[in-house]
Assembly symmetry: C2
């Protein structure tokens, strides 16, 4: 039996994403189609490109790639790395391991540096590793590890990388639009994000920025990237003034992300970052007052994702399922090493609202009391 | 200066896609987000999978890949072929050449068979070529070549391929939902399409079907596919009952394609195919009565795309631009070998309406008279 749309539930999405979409964004997506080379659509693309660049605080080329955040990740690895190219990877969570998997698949010479999950990456490990190599092409890091709730400081990673003459690739999937990220100040050569977290749009697009050095490297490759669909040079030739047809761009998603970006700058970046911080603080205080232990501490805590250690005797999956069933509240479960050990409470973009924090805390209390767990 | 949505023009899209989206589809896309593992969203995914399989007339695994038709193309090549695997490719247009490019990039042993653009592929060329090889893994063809307006009969290609023990991959980007395609009868191992042509949804998803043999081949690969994002085995583990997280699926696009598929079966497949044929006939008659020459003839003519030879003395680009500027009608220009030589008039999905054909014919006449071209 087919379900009617009206039967689909309205959820409060406090998981790792998708976060809730702004109603104005969904409204913008209902505009009728435009062709992928329509002069009026070219204006829309240029606006999106300008707004993405402003959000990343960069003069670099900005585009929205036709896929999710993982497509942005893969576009980077498959375009920047040729088989045998050396990439040094700072690894401290599930999504870092996804990066490792992708770099390995494209045949790069991958040098992984694995560090403790749930803590910021110790930058001296990168410094020590880079001393052993003369030919590192790329260094990678994640700004906000969604699997562990860690916000990685990037200043030292950037300066160490640049001292050794390598390019820097940064995953900003969870942070862009919720935490400050200054791509030009950090000399980031390639960064990618996703439309459905702090941007307030549905999933399906990956906003990326590519430095001149990164593009020059791509254009001087000896071999073609394995991926045609995610070849950054072909994508760039559609987004730049050459306007060469590559793929049929997801028009509705573009209307949506344009509106989402406009909303971000109406709110103001600083206000938005402060809102993410304030609501995360309220959540953390509430959880601590309920005697929960949280992963991470101090500045390394990610405002977007709060990792809560599931207390002994509590069935974490059942609590999450009950929150969804009874209160329409979605939270995230643990991934990889953290499966079954933590909940991940996401407060990103439209989902970062104090009333949702209150609703979640009360609902959690209700579920735990129901499970006869002493708070 | 930012444009308001209300300033975006309403276009009649008679190009190669995107075609117009059904208003109900755009409406369905405005539903609020659901998580990618929400039990209610799993119901939506299962419905989509069932409807895609019905549309392709197959019992094979059906999924909607998070990218455009080209992502479906690349998922096939990167998942089905390992470096050195032999693929014999029937090539007769621009999108065939895109397939060739992708197969080459993943390191396959590519055997191209190039035939005349604008005519159906001569199947004896495939038969002759396959006699020379004992180890062909895959044969590829395009059902409807959007660049030339050719509808390729697949019965003989299928039987020749199967006689030689190879798998068959078919591009159904332009045909699915507008022309009959019986995947099980044709023993097609992998077919892919796009959401924005005959399906009546916006671009951004690629509905694909994968045979058991194709999936077994993927699961027994010696090497991992270069692409993680488009790895059909990982995508399958999200769409099948295992429900393993892979990417954050484009939720709104899924709501949209579900509604588009429902609309297709409300109209009925046979009615829909007949509508595409009728409107293409009206267009062809109108163009012929205006003394235009068309590419192709007989059954090989694609109802979705009508290729019109630009008469000598007519500036084809200027005519297309004028149709857009003055009448809000988009038509397609030529691609590759056909650049500057043909117009491509698309009548697909929602865009296949008799009133749009009439509007186009009258507008074209008006533009040509304005250009002082004797009709």
């Amino acid at each position: 039996m087919l379900k009617n749309d009206s039967e689909l539930p309205p959820r409060i999405l406090l998981g790792p994403g998708p976060s809730m979409a702004n109603a104005r964004v969904l409204d913008a997506m209902s505009h009728s189609m435009l062709g992928y080379l329509d002069p009026d659509f070219m204006v829309v693309l240029d606006e999106i490109s300008d707004l993405i660049a402003r959000l990343y605080k960069t003069k670099n080329l900005a585009m929205a790639i036709p896929g999710t955040g993982s497509a942005g990740m893969e576009a980077g690895f498959s375009s920047l790395l040729e088989p045998g190219d050396k990439v040094v990877m700072c690894l401290y969570g599930h999504f870092c391991e996804r990066m490792f998997e992708m770099a390995t698949r494209v045949g790069a010479n991958v040098v992984p540096i694995r560090a403790q999950w749930g803590e910021p990456f110790p930058e001296e490990l990168l410094e020590n590793e880079l001393k052993n190599h003369a030919d590192v092409k790329l260094v990678t890091a994640i700004h906000g590890e969604t699997s562990t709730g860690i916000c990685q400081p990037l200043e030292n990673i950037s300066s160490i990388t640049k001292e050794h003459g390598a390019m820097l690739m940064v995953d900003a999937v969870t942070t862009l639009g919720g935490t400050d990220l200054d791509v030009d100040k950090l000399s980031i050569d390639y960064a990618y994000s996703a439309s459905q977290k702090c941007l307030g749009a549905p999933p399906g697009l990956s906003p990326v920025v590519v430095s001149d050095e990164a593009m020059a490297t791509i254009l001087s490759r000896k071999t073609k990237p394995y991926s045609w669909y995610l070849d950054l040079s072909l994508l760039a030739n559609y987004w730049n003034e050459r306007r060469i047809y590559h793929h049929t761009t997801p028009v509705s998603m573009m209307f949506g992300i344009r509106e989402a970006l406009n909303i971000i700058f109406e709110e103001g970046l600083e206000n938005r970052f402060a809102r993410h911080e304030k609501n995360a603080e309220i959540l953390r205080s509430g959880l601590k007052s309920m005697q929960f232990d949280l992963l991470g501490s101090g500045k390394s805590r990610l405002n977007q994702i709060t990792p809560v250690i599931i207390p002994p005797g509590v069935d974490g999956n059942e609590v999450a399922d009950q929150l969804l069933r009874e209160f329409n509240i979605e939270i995230g479960k643990g991934l990889g090493d953290f499966a079954g050990k933590i909940w991940r409470i996401g407060l990103m973009g439209e989902s970062s609202q104090t009333e949702y924090v209150f609703a979640f805390l009360s609902a959690l209390e209700s579920v735990l009391i129901h499970q006869e767990f002493p708070l």
